[in-house]
């Protein structure tokens, strides 16, 4: 009796063990990499800050331009005030200025970070979802769908992404939400290519053949056998892309393609600070950019680490 119980427990253990062990090993390998670990920690801090600002806005102060606008600091100087440590944490980064309105840079940068990260996450996730589904299905169902999809992605790859994004913003209209839509349109072909390539490889493996032989329908095979194996490279690409999407999003707003000037967004804040560049006011440009740079660098470090760990071909 006891023997049977032990065997059952052992069977359960065996069933459970590979996944847990695998995850543990992966995590251990990932955190061993100092670069990846630092990137992961900084990214988590950024997301926690954004979450804090979203859930409990009064803790960090103001989080939107429109409320910042009513907040005038002082008229002692015509120029933005330099960073100071005397007046409390709001003024650690000095102020920037829109017309005659001055407002503190630190809280507005924190608000802008939330905004930037939220939208880039939406763009990357939506692009990945569309791309992965289209790519996987075109690889499995093949023929005409595949051919059409590849030609469409070819056209997208034959243009610089910023140019296509500008063209689509032009078609859709110059509003912030359309910038998001345009970036989703620009970004899905990357994932479609990636998922297609990976699922073509997975399709030829023995276990998919076995699934078909066991009577699994095509749609079931796609969802329960092919898709899970496609996701790992997509996940790596996704973690790398958040960094570049934040950049491009900020860049498009810096160029002024979305008409409203009252957007709490890093590119917009930098472009606002540029007004006073010629008189030597550097902090409204340099300090928000440093926040952006640290985020993109840490996301890239994290993505590189993930790729080293998750890509079995690179694991030695």
């Amino acid at each position: 009796m006891a023997e049977i119980q032990v065997t059952k427990q052992f069977q359960r253990e065996v069933k459970r063990r590979p996944k847990v062990e695998d995850f543990k090993n992966t995590a251990k390998l990932f955190f061993k990499n100092k670069f990846a670990f630092a990137g992961f920690v900084i990214t988590v801090i950024y997301f926690l800050l954004a979450l804090l600002d979203e859930v409990y806005p009064s803790y960090l102060g103001v989080s939107s331009y429109s409320s910042l606008l009513s907040f005038q600091v002082s008229y002692s100087s015509v120029l933005p005030l330099p960073p100071t440590f005397d007046k409390g944490w709001w003024y650690y980064m000095g102020t920037t200025q829109l017309g005659s309105y001055k407002f503190a840079l630190f809280p507005s940068v924190l608000g802008a970070l939330k905004f930037d990260m939220g939208y880039s996450l939406i763009i990357v996730l939506a692009g990945a979802a569309i791309g992965v589904i289209l790519g996987t299905f075109s690889a499995t169902y093949g023929k005409y769908l595949d051919e059409v999809l590849m030609r469409v992605t070819d056209v997208f790859f034959s243009l610089p992404y910023l140019i296509i994004a500008l063209a689509f913003i032009f078609i859709l209209g110059r509003y912030l939400i359309y910038v998001v839509y345009a970036l989703i349109i620009v970004w899905w072909p990357i994932y479609a290519r990636l998922a297609r390539g990976q699922s073509l490889y997975v399709k030829s493996t023995k276990f998919v053949e076995a699934a078909y032989a066991a009577g699994s329908s095509r749609i079931r095979t796609v969802f329960s056998h092919i898709l899970p194996n496609v996701l790992s490279p997509v996940f790596i690409q996704l973690s790398l892309d958040i960094g570049s999407i934040v950049q491009i999003f900020a860049a498009l707003d810096y160029l002024g393609v979305s008409v409203s000037p009252y957007i709490d967004e890093l590119g917009n804040i930098i472009s606002l600070g540029q007004t006073y560049l010629s008189v030597g006011v550097w902090w409204p440009i340099v300090l928000p950019g440093i926040f952006l740079l640290i985020f993109t660098v840490s996301v890239n470090m994290m993505g590189d680490g993930l790729r080293d760990v998750l890509d079995p071909r690179l694991r030695r």
Binding site: L162, I163, I285, V286
Partner: protein, 362 residues
Amino acid sequence: MEFKYFVIRRLLLIIPTFLGLVLLVFLIMRSFPTAQLVAAYINRKLAIPVSVQIQMAKAQLGLDYPVPVQYFYYIGALFRGDWGTMNLQNYYTGPVLQGIAYFFPNTIQLAIFATILSVLIALPLGTYIGSRPNSVSDQAGRIFSLTGYAMPAFWLGLLLQIGLGRGVISGNPVGVFPISFPYSVNLINFLNPPAWINTSLGISYPTHIMLFDALIHGDFPLAFSALMHLVLPVLTLTYGILAGLLRFIRAGMVDSSNQEYVKTARSKGVPEKVIIKRHIRKNGLIPTLTVVGLLFASLLGGVVLIEDVFNYKGLGLLALNSVLDSSIYGVAGTTLVFGLILMVTNLVVDILYALYDPRIRY
């Protein structure tokens, strides 16, 4: 396969890509109502009544036909050189093709200088780093390329303006480089400008690149100012591609230094310098060649930002201003030109690739 046939096949493959590109641009245009497409062809100062002009423009663009037929009319118009007209405030007004011809050379100048500079830096540096994996210099190079990869191009441009720009921070000893426009406007006598400069458009003849035109016409102060104006935008562009190049050259070098032929060469007693140069680097550069097209694409995307930051009148600023001033033909034309540049780049890269590595042709 012989090299000749490879080139012919690759040249034929351009046709579907070109048709797809034109289709995308055509769809961008056709997503606007017909009235807006016709509007660019109407001139109220002419003696011909507007209704007749509308009919003429519709006939010229083939707008009375179904949309698929219009596509072929559009291709025909493109080949005839009729790319529509654009009206950009404070920038340029006139035919799109003429505007592209005016401002394109400036962009090409930026791109070529940046490419040359980054290759000149990346080749020796990548060789040095790639032959010493996991050393201190390798880690430094890794951080350098990681930062370059993650650096927002427009912010880097602004940083360089602050640090090296003339007159931004008072008393800055290295702040000698001008921060805006392709040349110093005050070097030109506006009341009596030379015949080879169009002061209202800000362009020069015959090459439209101020550096070369000033040299041709013997105006050396202006040529020097054009050169100085190039420094900051080119540095900004260079950093971005340099990071990518360095990363790929390093990866290729490390990959090929683990190959068997390297061991053979070592056991034969070939000097280490020759191994690195002939055996490792020559093979390590192959993966880099494949991404040159992609890097050039990112360079062209970056051009839009850099030209905006430095107010450098070029194709990128033309594209941006077309979007900001809602010029349909402007957006269509500039998008098409960017696509064509990239198409030609990819063609050249593929052919170079086949020349460099004969295995690819099969």
